[in-house]
């Protein structure tokens, strides 16, 4: 029997699950190898499980979703988070530093009808996650590699070093050194193919923190480029801002800033 794959969505933009459909060259092959048992963006029929692999997109922001992810976990053999929302809480985790009630008032005239949690949290804060795919959005090739590995009954190989290595392999010139651009590359996880420097700009961290990022040294590098205080906080508190060690570094800078004010 073909392995049964499910794709679930929580709070997200759909961009990560879209990468399945963006794999134009592989899509029909994929469909011949697996059964999409649940993938509402692509298929009307929805089966209840159990699933061999569940790809989970999106973060947990409502009480319902906090319950739903537990059900998903129970019906799933391998649970793989796809993207910054599911893996790190996503851009919507910016609410975690604010009053969500105030956020509701900003957006909705009748905030009392909004049912939402005060935080946006990654899936791993709710259930056990087997593999994490970083990125906002995830990289299509990494996604295909993970599917292929799991079909071959092998653990996926997901590197955790910084963007810089891929950047130089690609023949980019370092934007920090040659142009003084701020760049999160040295502390950001590889996976995107070093896109931003190839497009003449600094990395803004959409693949989350690299393993063993030296945040103290990086904070000093930012400061040497004139990025201090809330400017530095904003750089770290973005798409993957809720994940350590970026969260801790930004919180520490923010705290310092408040004390100085």
């Amino acid at each position: 029997m073909k392995p049964r794959i499910a794709v679930f969505k929580f709070a997200s933009c759909d961009g990560c699950q879209l990468q399945f459909l963006n794999a134009e060259d592989e899509l029909l092959t994929l469909a011949s190898l697996v059964e999409f048992a649940y993938f509402t963006e692509a298929r009307s029929r929805a089966l209840d499980g159990p699933y061999d692999i569940a790809f989970v997109e999106g973060s947990i922001t409502t009480p319902d979703d906090a319950r739903r992810i537990i059900e998903v976990r129970e019906r799933t053999r391998y649970l793989v988070t796809i993207g910054a929302c599911a893996t790190a809480g996503g851009i919507q985790a910016l609410r975690n530093w604010s009053e969500v009630e105030q956020y509701k008032r900003v957006v909705y005239p009748s905030p009392e009808f909004i049912s939402t949690l005060s935080t946006s949290t990654p899936i791993s804060e709710h259930v056990k996650v087997d593999f994490e795919l970083w990125g906002c959005p995830i990289d299509k090739h990494q996604l295909i590699d993970v599917v292929r590995s799991l079909l071959s009954r092998a653990k996926p190989a997901l590197p955790g070093h910084s963007v810089c290595m891929e950047c130089k392999r690609r023949g980019n010139v370092c934007v920090v050194v040659a142009r003084g651009e701020p760049c999160l590359g040295p502390v950001t996880r590889t996976g995107c193919g070093a896109l931003c420097p190839a497009y003449d700009r600094g990395c803004y961290g959409c693949f989350g923190p690299a393993d063993d990022a030296n945040m103290e040294a990086f904070t000093r590098l930012m400061a040497s480029q004139g990025i201090t205080g809330m400017d530095a906080v904003r750089r770290l508190r973005s798409i993957n801002g809720y994940v350590r060690p970026w969260r801790e570094t930004a919180d520490a800078i923010a705290k310092n800033q408040n004390q100085n004010d």
């Binding site: 592989e26 092959t29 994929l30 190898l33 295909i144 590699d145 599917v147 292929r148 079909l151 071959s152 190989a157 590197p159 955790g160 070093h161 910084s162 810089c164 290595m165 130089k168 392999r169 690609r170 023949g171 980019n172 010139v173 370092c174 934007v175 920090v176 050194v177 040659a178 142009r179 003084g180 760049c183 590359g185 040295p186 502390v187 003449d200 393993d211 063993d212 990022a213 030296n214 103290e216 040294a217 990086f218 000093r220 590098l221 040497s224």
Partner: protein, 368 residues
């Protein structure tokens, strides 16, 4: 033979044309993204004429230079390394067949390269990579295929960047070997020497005149001046022992606090050779490629084995890098792993400078 010749500036185009006619792909320093790297050159005007580079630890800028000077930019982020040791390449293709599989070597498409504007340190670095990939127990067929039949036009340095220290490493500023032609730039042209039969053939086709003795003397003086004026130095005396003995130097912690472990220094270094080997399958599971790509001892995965990481701290990884470069490389390959090009200094985003680190380790030797 080997008498210095003169190539007028205007005739540099003839050299390029001749090489192109002989079916070389001619590469030279070309401005890209705020730096120079070796790219295809068809016209002399593709070269960074009238430009110079301003380099310091952690900073690189191209600046207006001297009018008409063709090789005013000393070097950029791109070394020769990617042309022979590719950043990313397919080594094998393995295809499923019946109950087994069939393996095919993927031979690289290697264009015939002519490289102009190559510096002494670049050639020295290439000789080191040759030592690693060609003269060891195992020869690397892909490197070998790319390395064959390359034509090198070296340029002797008459100006150094503040990050250069080739004099300390005895690799420059004058190209000693490994070139077909070596040129020294003057206001009106180049003093040219040949370094190989292929170089001889080329100059005879160009019918270059003999250089005037004043020109030859002036060229010599320029190179000497460059050497004596070099701003950076590294004391290499007793080098393997210094680093071997100072395995516990407090400086390792000091530099580890500054180092981002980003791998930039190893990526731009013209001699670093570490690479990872991966097998990447197509989705249908019938075909797999063995891929190799540049790796670095600064990545956490580099020293990871199942259940243990031998170099978990940045302290360990920086020490590995510096010790390998300057010390254990000598035991392994009979030569230092550093040619003094200064790239790792310039292109380190936080400006860590190995000459300074070595000096500090030396200064604290045995005192802790």
């Amino acid at each position: 033979m080997n008498e210095p010749l003169k190539l007028k500036k205007a005739a540099l185009q003839d050299l390029i044309d001749l090489l192109r006619r002989e079916e070389f792909k001619v590469l030279g320093p070309v401005v890209r993204e705020g730096s120079v790297a070796f790219h295809e050159v068809r016209e002399v005007s593709d070269l960074p004429i009238g430009m110079r580079d301003a380099q310091e630890a952690g900073r690189y800028r191209l600046t207006p230079g001297v009018d008409g000077e063709i090789f005013g930019v000393v070097n950029g982020a791109g070394s020769l390394k990617p042309f022979f040791f590719a950043p990313h390449e397919i080594l094998l293709e393995v295809r499923r067949e019946h109950r087994g599989f069939k393996v095919r070597d993927a031979t690289p498409a290697a264009p015939r390269l002519a490289l102009i504007g190559v510096r002494a340190c670049d050639l020295a670095a290439l000789a080191i990579q040759d030592r690693i990939f060609l003269h060891d127990k195992f020869r690397d067929a892909h490197y070998e295929a790319r390395r064959k039949d390359v034509f090198f036009v070296a340029v002797n340095c008459t100006r150094s960047a503040p990050t250069c220290f080739c004099v300390s490493m005895k690799t420059g500023p004058e190209a000693a070997s490994g070139f077909d032609l070596a040129m020294t730039e003057m206001e009106d042209g180049f003093v040219v020497r040949t370094g190989s039969a292929a170089g001889e053939r080329v100059v005879s086709k160009l019918q270059l005149p003999t250089a005037a003795s004043e020109d030859v003397a002036k060229a010599r003086a320029r190179i000497d001046e460059c050497a004596s004026g070099m701003q950076r130095q590294m004391d290499t005396s007793d080098l393997p022992h210094l680093l071997y003995d100072e395995v516990d130097s407090p400086r390792w912690n000091d530099v580890a606090a500054r180092c981002l472990s980003c791998t930039n220094c190893t990526m731009v270094c013209p001699t670093c050779f570490c690479h990872s080997v991966m097998d990447v399958q197509e989705l249908d599971g019938n075909m797999s490629r063995r891929v190799r790509q540049w790796d670095s001892c600064f990545s956490l995965e580099h020293a990871h084995i199942h259940g243990i990481n031998f170099r978990p701290r940045i302290h360990d990884r920086y020490r590995q890098w510096l010790t390998h470069k300057l010390a254990s490389w000598i035991d392994q390959f009979g030569t230092s792993g550093c040619v003094g090009c200064g790239r790792c200094i310039t292109w380190c985003p936080v400006g860590i400078d190995l000459t300074e680190e070595v000096a500090a380790i030396r200064a604290q030797r045995g005192k802790h």
